[in-house]
Symmetry: C2
Subunit: 274 residues, 2 copies
């Protein structure tokens, strides 16, 4: 999916919601655990319930790897399910990969060829040749870690002058255009989004940390929105684990709709009129 | 495996060789490709051929993920095979993971519980709470990226004063002792190993970049060895792809033995006498 198509979906659905599929076998409702593939069954129901409010899904790879081959199978089936049934939805592999060139190339193959993800999150520590192997796939994206939403972001991301995260955001724009490069920018630091937006005016930002991690959606929109919205705001636990009974999918749908409604208002308030 | 046991293996085998299992389905010998699980068959033969010269194996996760569920299955079988047949060998998941706390916890589960790795490589960008979930498993290890062996290391690892990679190596030692923390220190910058060794006198260093990437083993030993050797030097392509005929395992064995012989001499020259 290219940048224009992504923006069209945002306008069509009046939403910039990304639902994080952090599917933990120990947190899914009891009654699903007897299914042959409980992780996939959970995802399928969450997807069917929330797709109309959602621009992107973001499976978090750790949760699938934690259960080994079963998890990897459930992940592949989930991606395939979204592709077949909701072809206009953007799919992000939240994998935070990044390694020497020949290795990153294999990861790119894993996520863009073996599975049909639209985007992968990448860690910048190893620099240019760890990132560029993910580029050059038509309509596929790298989402590079800029400023993350966790406490540990303070350990290294602010070192140097200008701070490391700003240097990452500046330098990476020499490697790729806004048509294949997004940045992760944590919502727990919404005021810093303003600075990130000024450093990367045209790039989409993937914003985690709204919901369970405590970030404010209104602050994110106010500080981060650009002329093509430029935001994908992720919510995982606050939607997918809002309820743990047989009604979990209905409640997830309500939560996704609530978030979408809030986003519709924010798009009205902050999307520049052209 | 704890630090003392690792050192004992090094003394016993007169080696500090780590063989990287970067097993690429397109590079393994023709005649193995008709096997039911060619990746595992390749690994099995490489392991059987090289185990007597080898302290550690390091499967590179990207190569397994690139072929999806089949790859993940082959990986699990390879780890299991090493555990069952060569219980004294250290197994490293070269995964370069690292994410917010609850996610890193799932990765730890994947590599230390679901599979029985001894260690996992971790990227430091997201800081303390992305690293600590991997700690506290008895006799399991975090191998944190310090200075990597690729060209892109220059993009961010030298930013700041002292440079980022030194700050990573200093700070991480507040999070974990030398009994569960190693660092990646690329061999393509062997002279810098001296500085890294002075910053982390007691930690094991995992040194990639010898062999195909061009680093010198003698330089690594001279600059990096400590009283318990403190080095695991990785070689992947130069051993496992030294030959692509039916004799590939024999040739891999020769290459591993050559490296081990060189290491035996270096241990003699540089291991401090007690």
């Amino acid at each position: 999916m290219n940048r224009q198509q992504l923006f069209e979906q945002i306008i069509k659905k009046n939403s910039f919601l990304c639902v994080g599929l952090d599917t933990d076998i120990n947190k899914i409702p009891e009654f699903l655990r007897n299914e042959e593939d409980p992780i996939f069954e959970f995802n399928k129901r969450i997807i069917d319930a929330t797709a109309e409010y959602t621009i992107a899904y973001k499976p978090n790879l750790a949760f699938y790897e934690a259960v080994g081959v079963k998890g990897w199978t459930a992940l592949a089936k989930s991606v395939e399910y979204i592709r077949s049934n909701y072809s206009d939805i953007f799919i992000i592999a939240d994998a935070k990969r990044g390694d020497i060139g020949n290795t990153s190339k294999m990861y790119a193959k894993a996520f863009f060829e073996e599975m049909d993800f639209d985007a992968i999150t990448v860690a910048p520590y190893m620099g240019e040749d760890s990132v560029t192997p993910f580029l050059g796939y038509k309509d596929k994206w790298v989402i590079l870690l800029g400023l993350t939403s966790n406490k540990g972001a303070d350990d290294f991301q602010f070192l140097g002058n200008p701070p490391l995260y700003k240097q990452v955001i500046k330098k990476a724009q020499y490697w790729a255009s806004e048509n294949e490069l997004m940045f992760v920018a944590g919502a727990t630091r919404a005021t810093m989004l303003k600075e990130i937006r000024s450093l990367a005016p045209d790039n989409f930002l993937l914003v985690p940390g709204v919901g369970a991690q405590g970030g404010s959606l209104a602050e994110v929109a106010k500080n981060g929105m650009n002329a093509t919205c430029g935001l994908l705001v992720n919510s995982s636990r606050a939607i997918i684990y809002a309820d743990s009974t047989e009604k979990f999918a209905d409640i997830a749908k309500e939560k996704a709709e609530e978030t979408q409604q809030e986003m519709a208002q924010l798009l009205k308030d902050y999307l520049p009129k052209i």
